[in-house]
Symmetry: none
Subunit: 245 residues, 2 copies
């Protein structure tokens, strides 16, 4: 019993010297480990008991740290094997936003507002620098929307169009952010198409935007893109329509 408290005290001392919280410290250690060993998707982490030894924390603490990392979608536990480095970004972000949608419904509008600023803002660069081939490629992607067999597929094609557009901005930060936000944007698009499944309209709106690019008309592009994104926003459940809430 007394050695129990002794060990506890030592660990507490180590914790206070290290960081603010034992769980946070352990999480940091584990993330450092992933970086140091250059682990990639599919690789496995040491077992919880080994991590417990490595980090100097108890297995319970390690588990809480892993739970945090897991919530970020970076790892996925696999029984008998260990935690596997995962590409669970999509699910994690969806869960993240799902947890927040209950609290604040403004998030959807914020994301759409963000998109509008970005996609309108990149117009100047695209109009000036995009090659004709790139614009034609956009047209090709756009054509796939009406061929979609399901709403999900349509949303994916829709997203591909916008992602390709953002790619023309030639800015890594932007493309990274769009990849990061892709699950949420896809979800917004899916909801929009469920409520108003007229794929031809989406294609036509995109077509107008492409036409503005072909004509190298910045003002037309800004106007059309802005209208296009505003229009999508109108069909989102942003209004507190449900009285039960």
């Amino acid at each position: 019993m007394s050695e129990n408290s002794q060990v506890a005290r030592d660990n507490v001392v180590a914790r206070r010297a290290g960081g603010s919280s034992a769980v946070d410290a352990a999480a940091g250690r584990i993330l450092d480990l992933i970086r140091a060993r250059r682990l990639n998707v599919g690789d496995v982490l040491p077992t919880e008991r080994e991590l417990s030894e490595i980090t100097g924390a108890s297995r319970n603490t390690v588990r809480e740290a892993l739970r945090t990392i897991r919530t970020y979608g970076l790892i996925e536990p696999k029984p008998r094997v260990g935690a596997v480095l995962a590409d669970g970004q999509s699910i994690a972000i969806q869960n993240f936003f799902a947890a927040h949608m209950d609290v604040s419904r403004s998030s959807f509008a914020d994301i759409q507002g963000f998109r509008r600023i970005i996609e309108v803002g990149i117009g100047d660069h695209i109009v000036l620098n995009a090659t004709n081939e790139q614009i034609e490629a956009l047209d090709e992607i756009n054509a796939r929307i009406v061929d979609s067999r399901s709403i999900e597929e349509a949303a994916e094609n829709d997203f591909n169009f916008h992602m390709a557009l953002v790619g023309l901005a030639d800015n890594r930060m932007l493309t990274d952010m769009y990849s990061f936000l892709s699950p949420v944007i896809l979800r917004i698009m899916t909801i929009g198409k469920e409520m108003r499944p007229v794929l031809a309209d989406t294609r036509a709106a995109h077509g107008e935007i492409i036409a503005a690019l072909r004509a190298r008309d910045r003002l037309a592009y800004a106007y059309l893109m802005s209208r296009h994104l505003d229009f999508a926003l109108r069909f989102l459940p942003e209004e507190p329509a449900s009285e039960s809430d």
Copy 2:
């Protein structure tokens, strides 16, 4: 010892009957509880032991569930009080970005390009919606730049100006991103001021932007902001010093 295993088996049975994972089930129960009791920001959750009784899971399981919710930024634990419903979306989003995005790979030029799209893009909204008081507040922040004692302080004041500007866009996603990017942006500003430490110029450029806002002149704002950010870019090194990390 045998009653120990008996309890464990019962709980496992209860778990399998309930859902997929005890932790997930507990997290769902807790979120339901928050919704059912209509808890708002600032309200406190029941204690872990009470939640343990409510959910039928052990305190350890409850803790892992709370850790998940906490990672989402919905609650914040307070010793002796309990978990408090928090508005920690900002920090949670920042952590998500930190976990998933590698800013260091983006070049300074990319980040400045991103900034230009954002800060020019929000012009319309600001020109239309900002109150005179908000614009005057911007002016006040801007005035502090020339009083700065050090380059770091000047960079910080510079950043504060741009952050306040972005805040006027009234979009949480944007402000969160700027908070997240703040270290990088600050670094860019510091470098810029080291190379060309004429604080009066920065203040003057900001002043012109503020004047455009006062006049509610979108075009002038877009032009001046674009020029301002482009100008900063000119003094940055071509290749970001990735070795410092």
